[in-house]
Amino acid sequence: MAKITMTVNGRQVAGTCDDRTLLVHFIRENLGLTGTHVGCDTTQCGTCVILMDGQSVKSCSILAAQAEGSAITTIEGLAQQGELHPVQAAFNAHHGLQCGFCTPGMVMTAVDMIRRHGGNLDEGRVRAELEGNICRCTGYHNIVKAILAAAAAMGGARQAAE
């Protein structure tokens, strides 16, 4: 058995699980945070993307034991005081989803993408960086629009704060 302590969405958590437990299952089943989805289990589809120590990773291909001591952000940790994160708000405004199954992974990937590229994102870059996230409904068009809008809004917010 593995004893796990980590920070999830700003909260210190501790738990015990089988050594073979995947991080995504620890998050969903031990912590009850079911916003992170499970798709392929093999790093292909991106529906399980979370932030681990600030970087987007695929939680289906990480053992919970490997995440010992890390800081995790899941989709549940983005909204602050009832206010949607700018990426969530942009997905809502631009209808960047249909069935919604891939959406948590798309949003977490977008948050990391905007962190790394900021105002340098363009459509080509967004489409290239979405290669690890599969959506079977939308054709990606509104997802790309939402990410570009969020990047612009967050860039604007940063400028306003400076």
Partner: protein, 275 residues
């Protein structure tokens, strides 16, 4: 539970790690970033009795320059080498390869040496190591040895790694002054394993073409200096010398055709880039 049961160790020292691998024998596997191994565990294609996590071993998490080699430790993640400030100067082939290697999220976790250990015949990093003429440092409780990349890969996901041994580092020869380097691949989707990938080097040692995705391991072929009208015949001979097979993704004939096309493009580009 997706994976079958295993014991998990995360040692703090290399000595403990090597002892655990020695005791575990053929049922023990090293776990680094896990981006190849954990999917294999999930599909139960790998069922080790013991996993030994090496990511707490700080000495393995370094990129060092040693003479004319770049030495990448077993704990160095792909994203860390991708972001290494000297990459485009010292390893321009890898700078060209990284955007094709998995996805942002898998590069954030996966290690360089892990991809070498996994030895997928279509993977980009084994191809790069073989094409550049690199080497692999292996370590077990009782011995240390360094194996040439071309001797390390012995077949489909099979390497020269012995029981109780682990990769300690891989050695990439530094780019030679004025050398030209090129990489191209064709896959079903960007970020998937390639159907065929080609890497070419043109430097003062001559012209080399590396090919992945055709034989059961990456292969490299030295070529003499060629006139333009000799290129096609030389690459065609190479394409036919490989053991191309039909599979779910592509026919043997298509693979040979890709070798001709990508081989020509990469060799031309590497030659053009040669100062």
């Amino acid at each position: 539970m997706k994976p079958a049961s295993f014991d998990f160790l995360c040692p703090d020292t290399l000595e403990e790690t090597l002892a655990a691998l020695a005791d575990g024998g053929g049922d023990a596997r090293v776990l680094a970033g896990g981006q190849s191994l954990v999917p294999m565990l999930n599909m139960r294609l790998a069922r080790p009795a013991l996993l030994v996590d090496i990511m707490r071993l700080e000495p393995l998490r370094r990129i060092d320059t040693s003479g004319d080699e770049i030495v990448v430790g077993a704990g160095v993640r792909q994203a860390e080498l991708e972001a290494w400030p000297s990459l485009s100067r010292d390893l321009p082939l890898l700078a060209a390869v990284f955007p094709w290697l998995g996805h942002v999220q898998t590069r954030a976790r996966g290690t360089v040496c892990g991809s070498i250990a996994h030895a997928d015949p279509s993977a980009e990093l084994p191809l790069s190591l073989v094409t550049l003429g690199g080497a692999v440092s292996l370590r077990s409780r009782n011995r240390k040895r360094k194996v040439k990349a071309d001797d390390f890969f012995i077949g489909m996901m099979a390497t020269d790694l012995a029981e109780g041994e682990m990769i300690e580092a891989v050695h990439f020869p530094k780019a030679r002054p004025g050398g030209g380097y090129a990489f191209r691949e064709v896959g079903r989707r960007h970020g998937d394993f390639a159907i065929v990938a080609c890497a070419a080097v043109a430097d003062d040692k001559g012209l080399r073409l590396g090919i992945a995705g055709v034989d059961d391991r990456p292969r490299v072929f030295p070529l003499p200096a060629l006139d333009d009208d000799q290129f096609d015949d030389a690459i065609n001979d190479i394409a036919w010398s490989l053991d191309a097979r039909d599979d779910f993704h592509a026919s043997a004939r298509y693979r040979r055709e890709l070798v001709r096309g990508l081989g020509r493009e990469t060799l031309k580009e590497a030659s053009r880039c040669r100062a």
